[in-house]
């Protein structure tokens, strides 16, 4: 019985976290917290001034998006250990991961492309900027479902010694709820629900960081306790 491989994969997550922290503070788009009320000309000026910073961090975000996948992969493997009647939750989880991380990458592309040629037509820069924000903030549906699937799988775990402790399920539901406000950025240009608002931006980013950190430690413990070979029931 060997879980070294899984532990190696898990330790990629802290590296991603460190990189994310760095990116968060370096990224001109986040620190300036571009408001949805800005005019195309203001946005064009912004991209013109901060082009190189945005591009550098774009590369980083690109990497981070991919680096989160191993953590989700280990989660999926541990989910499949739970042994519900079928792998239906695990499938949903994997599909959600694929869609969600791609949306994250696309957001990054939009900002990167905007900064790549900042003398573009301001209309187009605005379009790319808006699209980047929406893809970053709004597609909460997949991560929501991802967490709910994990939670449901844990709730339905009937064995004497469950794979995941119960509180992980509650935790996943709670974080899922905290992601919900992100979807409402479509409706608001100012206030806590705008894309730079406290609910749909700060809360969401914080929740996500906390989620990854907690899940990292949880999985580390679960993988450490695992005694049987994982028979991946996919």
């Amino acid at each position: 019985m060997n879980t070294r491989g899984q532990r190696i994969l898990l330790w990629i997550a802290p590296a991603a976290g460190a990189l994310f922290l760095l990116a968060y503070f370096l990224f001109p788009i986040f620190s300036a917290s571009l408001s949805p009320t800005q005019t195309p000309d203001e946005i064009a000026a912004f991209f013109h001034d901060h082009g190189s910073g945005i591009l550098g961090v774009s590369v980083m975000i690109n990497l981070i998006g991919g680096m989160l996948i191993p953590l989700f992969a280990v989660t999926a493997v541990q989910m499949s250990r739970i042994g519900n009647s079928s792998p239906v939750f695990t499938y949903s989880y994997i599909l959600c991961v694929g869609i969600g991380t791609t949306a994250f990458l696309l957001a990054d592309y939009c900002w990167g492309i905007a900064a790549y040629r900042p003398d573009r037509n301001p209309q187009l820069l605005t379009l790319l900027n808006d699209m980047g924000w929406f893809l970053f903030t709004a597609p909460v549906g997949t991560i929501l479902m991802q967490n709910l699937c994990l939670a449901l799988a844990i709730y339905l775990d009937t064995r004497a010694e469950p794979v995941f402790p119960r509180w992980v399920a509650h935790f996943n539901v709670a974080t899922a709820v905290l992601f919900v406000p992100g979807a409402f950025t479509f409706l608001h240009k100012t206030g806590p629900l705008a894309w730079n608002g406290i609910l749909s931006f700060d809360l969401r980013v914080l929740t996500f960081a906390a989620y990854v950190a907690v899940m990292f430690f949880v999985l580390l413990r679960i993988v450490g306790r695992q005694t049987e070979d994982v028979e991946l029931r996919l």
Partner: protein, 267 residues
């Protein structure tokens, strides 16, 4: 949850469990999320935002701008982003049945890849194109027209990914020896595949009958698709219900056997 309690008793005389204690509860939850998902989608697309049936590709710029300024487009986008995750669940329900078939795992891996692609190009792109266009009233009409085209073409014109998924699904049903789903349903799925191919012409023309709102490309494809969707769910319902208790991953007999196997394998 309209599963009759008692429907889980097998002929072998397994004690009747209420639905909430059913071993298959995970499958039932996902299964019943699907009708909910499609109804929600239907409501959002048709009456709420009037995105569907599709507007004409040859609409004038003014009409397109008017479409983006429609009242409920943004609310529709909010609901869609929130329910984005239900699409993977519905595909996971198919995947679970493909897993029970006597075909190579390559089929379900290909299906899985195809559905991820399909959800991104077929759902995320149109959703964000329409949402984006409606969000900022200051866009150039030219930009709005581009978003309109992007949204509809990605939504109706994406065919490769769906061709893969339906080909895998149909082929798996036809080749399957475990009789999970009836063979004719496999052939029906092949038509589903063909009707996806009919999305190709929409890229080449902007008028009837092959535009994206065309009689042949949209309405006829719907005529094939909608009954298929209903029929497949009825049969998946039956398949879940018929699945014997001892075939489940969490059946007591199976967990015991598995433990014995691992113990025996270790020297």
């Amino acid at each position: 949850m309209s599963v009759p309690a008692g429907s889980f008793a097998s002929a072998a005389g397994v004690p009747v469990r209420p639905w909430y204690r059913s071993r298959k509860l995970d499958q039932w939850i996902c299964f019943w999320s699907v009708p909910f998902f499609y109804n929600l989608f239907g409501l959002v697309f048709v009456p709420l935002s009037s995105m569907m049936p599709p507007k004409s590709p040859s609409a004038s710029t003014q009409q397109i701008v008017g479409f983006f300024q429609g009242d409920h487009l943004l609310i529709a986008c909010v609901i869609l982003t929130l329910s984005l995750g239900l699409a993977p669940v519905s595909n996971a329900v198919y995947l679970t049945q493909i897993k029970r078939m006597s075909v190579s795992p390559a089929f379900r891996v290909a299906f899985l890849g195809g559905t991820v692609m399909g959800a991104i190009v077929g759902m995320t792109f149109p959703l964000f194109c329409f949402g984006l266009g409606a969000f900022r009233p200051g866009y150039d009409p030219a930009v709005l027209v581009m978003l309109y085209d992007f949204g509809y073409l990605a939504f109706i014109g994406s065919l490769g990914c769906f061709c893969v998924t339906w080909a895998m699904f149909g082929l798996a049903i036809i080749l399957d020896r475990n009789r999970i789903l009836p063979k004719w349903l496999g052939y029906y799925t092949v038509w589903q595949f063909m009707s996806e191919l009919m999305a190709a012409p929409i890229w080449l023309t902007q008028s009837q009958p092959f535009g994206w709102n065309g009689v042949m490309t949209f309405w006829f494809a719907m005529l094939v698709y909608v009954p298929w969707q209903f029929i497949i769910y009825v049969w998946i319902y039956k398949a879940i219900k018929r699945q014997p208790e001892d075939e489940l991953d969490n059946a007591p007999s199976r967990t015991r056997v598995r433990q014995r196997d691992t113990a025996g394998a270790a020297p």
